[in-house]
Amino acid sequence: MALVEQGKTVAQPWWFERITAPWWVLAAVLLTMPVWVNDFILFQVMGWTFILGMIALSMMFLAGYGGMVSLIQMSVAAMGGYMVAIFGTSGMGEISMGLSWWLYIPIAIVIAAIFGTIVGALAVRTEGIYTIMITLAIAAAFFYFTRQNYTIFNGYSGFNLVVPPMLFGVDWRQPMPFYYLSLGCAVLCYLAVVYVARAPFGLALQGVRDNPRRMAALGFNVTAHRVAAYTFASVIAAIGGILLVWQNAQIAPGTAGIPAVIDILVIAVVGGISRPIGPFIGALIYVLLRTFSPDVLMAFGLSGERFKLLIGLGFLTVVFFSPDGVLGLWDRWQARRARSRDPLTGGET
């Protein structure tokens, strides 16, 4: 209440005045990136970073604000991607229905959200490691189901030639349009998470995370809040999944195989799950390691086939020095800088 009364007397600053300098720099760098990097970096490195970042963001939302570590997010993303292939166009003419984009994109998001919600409804009654187990089990089941089912998911081969629609005369699979498309989606998802985290729903969810019994006593429906969190996270994962299938132009069971599921967890943990920017940092680190580690090994005259070792060492280093991810490192650095600001008095400010 005190905050609101203060607001009446002090003039509210414009919304953009509240955004600090690092964010302006980041925005400028991201927006002008096509000018100074090549197509490969734009499409492959940055595009993939945004996509994986979005899927990991949906996991971060559940884990960071809801206290539920869900491994189903990659499967939800793949479900969105599969639905785009099934309801839209692909190389598998017998299965794909060829609807127009304004129909199949919403359908894909809705179906993926329903899938995520059902899994959530099953998982919310469990806690901690059991949530991880049940979502991992469903993710494994999803992988094997898509691999065996030929009538809907086209089994082992999956779908190829799944490309974004030609909208407004732009080929969205060209590096620059795709870069801005994925950047735009990532920013929207990021802002949505920031907004929801401060909205009454998000605050109640964090309350549920910290003390479900007290929240229930206060009259909040704990289960409903958790299931709704799954639904919201599924929408974000589905958007990431749709972009992923467009970027690869194809989807197959391996897209949501167990390694891919674990990769999302690694990305979220390495980046840090305390704030929504963490998953994007984690995704960038993951993509850079994934893409360039064979080259680094070769540069040192080592055999490129051991590249997984380098990836593993990279992640191990991050987790060893900072159990709460890169964000934790940043926070500690900030805290140390704040402490050392006044050397004369020795005070903390």
Partner: protein
């Protein structure tokens, strides 16, 4: 603020296209190969064999120095396309050698269409669709596909063994269907009859139900499974009595199965299989190649003799070097001359001469092997025959082959093939 700006600008400068395009006096080969997952060992052998081919050519092709870049995949099509894009856009390679497995091949066919100025020479992937359905102009395959690898075996078991009625157990995915189709087409046209077909999921460990349901009144059982699936099947088949003859698909009697522990594999003795190579092939070209392979790498760092994957990548590298020599390394004009040189005349390989058809798919030799006791408690493959000039349509006309349909659980229709000729 200023520091942050300087930092971000310098990061940007680092990200600038690091790898410049290949210089005029070098030609860059990208080796797209699986180095993770089930085929990692075979993939590493692929890389070795490309090195061997380059070494034999003195590191030069068409007067240019050969450089290689390795792009590792994990056999999923997603990773394959990413790595191929990295090879083309970041490393600036001229030619891609690869990929290794079937679904990767299909993904590369589609990717190849987006890079019309570059050329892709298949490593060892064997999906029929890669060069049969909507093939890419710049995708060349010098190895036979999964269906071709099955050819010749059907005639052999009918004519030589006198096995006319078989039940089949094969893996329920594209390679299983394709490899089975090659066998079935040949077998049915030679007068054989397929009594019943069973499809088992890839990676399944319990075959009890299938084994119990196998009919008794058959001459042999065709097994189109490989690796650990094959070992599991043989174990359980042994426990159930192991009475009937076996016929193996291409991956049934490879080294992983023959060198496995336990006696279950003994059920394989006398089993004919067909595939791309025969280890004891008496052809001097093959002998020479095996000797070169054994000499080039120390014993701990290679297989006793080149693997299927290794031979595939070797032939691909050979084709690239041969064509580059023919055109003096002239890759100008979107590599048009290079592609012509690849397509025109038959290539002499350790596996015999290979020629390409209008889909840029190889026509070549299939080897029939039989599993025998090697006298030291182990098993070995012995070559018992070969089928030469096996083409993409397995000796049928294009219309007949198209009418039969793409490989699936129910294709080919055995009765229709037997009556049709």
């Amino acid at each position: 603020m200023k520091k942050a700006l300087i930092a971000s600008v310098s990061v940007g400068a680092l990200l600038l296209p690091a790898a410049a395009m290949a210089q005029d006096d070098t030609v860059k080969l990208g080796i797209l190969v699986a180095l993770e997952g089930a085929f990692a060992e075979g993939g590493a052998d692929g890389v070795r064999n490309v090195e061997l081919a380059i070494q034999q050519a003195g590191g030069m092709a068409g007067g240019k120095k050969i450089e290689t870049v390795v792009a590792p995949t994990d056999t999923t099509p997603d990773t394959t396309v990413r790595q191929a894009r990295k090879l083309i856009e970041q490393d600036g390679v001229d030619i891609i050698l690869g990929p290794l497995s079937g679904s990767e091949g299909i993904a590369m066919r589609d990717y190849a269409k987006t890079i019309p100025d570059k050329t892709v020479i298949n490593g060892i992937s064997g999906a029929l669709e890669t060069t049969w359905v909507d093939p890419a102009e710049n995708f060349f395959r010098f190895n036979l596909d999964g269906a071709q690898w099955g050819a010749g075996l059907g005639t052999y078991v009918v004519k030589e063994k006198g096995w006319n009625r078989v039940a089949t157990v094969a893996a329920d995915y594209s390679f299983g269907y394709t490899n089975f189709l090659g066998f079935a087409v040949d077998f049915c046209r030679a007068g054989g009859e397929i009594v019943e077909r069973f499809w088992v999921p890839l990676g399944s460990s319990d075959f009890g139900g299938v084994i119990a349901a196998l009919p008794d009144d058959v001459d042999a059982i065709y097994l189109g499974v490989g690796g650990t699936d094959a070992i599991n099947f043989l174990n359980q088949y042994n426990q159930a009595g192991a009475e009937t003859n076996l016929i193996g698909g291409t991956i049934m009697a490879d080294q992983t199965v023959l060198t496995s522990r336990g006696r279950a594999k003994d059920a394989l003795i006398g089993t004919p299989t067909s595939g791309a190579l025969a280890e004891d092939n008496p052809d001097p070209a093959w002998r020479e190649y095996v000797a070169a392979y054994q000499e080039a790498f120390p014993e701990g760092e290679r297989f006793p003799s080149p693997s299927l994957f290794g031979v595939g990548y070797y032939v691909a590298a050979l084709a690239a070097i041969d064509a580059l020599n023919e055109i003096d390394g002239d890759l100008s004009g979107g590599q048009a001359k290079f592609r012509e040189a690849l397509a025109d005349d038959p290539l002499d390989t350790p596996l015999g001469p290979v020629s390409l058809n209008e889909n840029r798919q190889a026509t070549g030799t299939v080897f029939i092997n039989e599993v025998q006791d090697d006298g030291q408690g182990g098993l070995k493959n012995v070559m018992v025959g070969k089928a030469e000039n096996v083409n993409q349509t397995l000796g049928m006309t294009v219309e007949e082959f198209t009418a039969m349909g793409l490989p699936s659980r129910d294709t080919p229709d055995c009765a229709a093939l037997a009556s049709g000729g």
